[in-house]
Symmetry: C2
Subunit: 348 residues, 2 copies
Amino acid sequence: MTINSHLHKEIHQQPEVLQTLLNNERDVVQQLATAIKERDITHVIIAARGTSDNAARYAKYLLGAVNGMVVTLATPSLFSIYNQPPRFGNALVMGISQSGKSPDIVAVLAEARKQGALTAAISNFADSDLAKQADYVIKLNAGEEKSVAATKTYTTSLTAIAALSASLSDTDEMWENLGQIPSIVETTLGMSSEIIRSTERYRYMEHCVVIGRGYNYATAFELALKLKELTYTIVEPYSSADFQHGPLALIEQGFPVIIVAPTGVVLPEMQSFMRTLTEHGAELITISDDKETLDLSRVPLTLPTNVPEWLSPLVSIIPGQLFAMHLAHTRDYSLDTPRGIRKVTETR
Amino acid sequence: MTINSHLHKEIHQQPEVLQTLLNNERDVVQQLATAIKERDITHVIIAARGTSDNAARYAKYLLGAVNGMVVTLATPSLFSIYNQPPRFGNALVMGISQSGKSPDIVAVLAEARKQGALTAAISNFADSDLAKQADYVIKLNAGEEKSVAATKTYTTSLTAIAALSASLSDTDEMWENLGQIPSIVETTLGMSSEIIRSTERYRYMEHCVVIGRGYNYATAFELALKLKELTYTIVEPYSSADFQHGPLALIEQGFPVIIVAPTGVVLPEMQSFMRTLTEHGAELITISDDKETLDLSRVPLTLPTNVPEWLSPLVSIIPGQLFAMHLAHTRDYSLDTPRGIRKVTETR
């Protein structure tokens, strides 16, 4: 199947742009890490929307588990509408935005600068409004993203965050692992044939949920967003823990559940949750590198093995991006300009 | 329509239990506020799941906008699964749990105590595992909640948070406003006839989204959760800002959108967003006290007027609870024991 679209191109550019980011931005990331250490900062506040907010969710787990930091997702409306910014104290305040234009995100960084907090921006444009408010700018180096649905700017944002975690940890091993990611992403892109076959089955799927936990909580959110934007399916992301506190009531015979479950410490719990879902009649579509986990599923989507858990979100979103794109194609929807939305959304 | 169920009783007990909480817990809330000030704390970390997590969302906006505090929703799996707790620094760490039993929530408070942080619990049981880890326990005073879907333990949790905000602000006016809430909730419960009439229309609604912003972002989440638990509708909550960053693509002719939009500083933006939704063909069901806003809707659900915005979530969830209950009744579903879930969920 040939798909001529910006989306298809941009998804397949990911190995290259991730490599470019790693080559070009290591110095500035290292400088930011040094500034964080010099100020003895243990608290990070991140402002972001949409896909960038999902990258922030990754930061919440990664900088928490690996670097012992508390990460807060900011509430931009406190700044832009209520005009009552909280006191940041000794925090790093970071904005993530592909365009760097959304006024509510810019407002959070402007306030942070006013309060004297350390500021950083992750953006595809080093001269954006957001970047102008930041002490340190990590440029995504993703090149222009023409498709409305963000793909390469998501994985480059994750890579920027992973690089910051590696710099803060100051271990060569993390940098070495990170350096292998572009080629692993390349391998993953080559494993798309079972995804293409599977999408016919979901031509008329109207809704589903996506479950991820820990590092891959972010993946569940991002995959859900891609499915909403590209295929107009009603999709809600959940952690397996939160899902059991109420929403489990939704599950009935045949209810489709996408599981993101690469190898890692959360895997045994995910397997147990998958068995519960199966007892309730759910149909499981699973993204994993683990054979036993894939075997629990109606539709397995296979990942490469030997990816460290902390980096797995950079790889596990790839089958999700491909699944959303091919499902949109199966439904004859526009891949580059979904109905009702634009590339740059400016919210207050 | 007579509905003989625990759920119906518990929804209607709310004016009484809110009053009991305000009578019994003012002292301990005041003591907690004093301890926060003595330690010069400006950062609050909250651990919660399900309905309690929605109460935490209210805290995020209220303690932020009124008290200048940064509020972080904890990631319990960092404690219970990754076993890599972050450094809390000089924060208040608070757990919210009706039962006080979920091991992941208890683990966050136990770690906080180990690190020497100030701890607090909001729970219906003063002798729960969670309460045992807390320096201060605000008891919900809600009485036993027999229905699986939480209602009175949600509004009492909100009231506990509102009382903390009033104590931190040290203004009599906030306490006076809060004191009027039980009778306003009573009034709201008396306005249910248009809700009962409206539910027939949604007998076969399979999915919808709920939109709220600012203080009522929490209301959108809680209403969505009640609809999922009680009516098995696929419902996703959103802020109006986030919804425009992608999910707007979902909207097609007749797509049902529930809007929570009481009077307040976010109202003009919500009205503008409602017009956008209408242009895209959405069907609007609106919870508001503002005539102009209600007039923008296909189905208006009217709130009492003159409720201060910061307290509006305690009132605006009431039509939501009634709507979810009556819709479940319209569908002949069990009101007290939804399929697949239990009252106390213990997650790791």
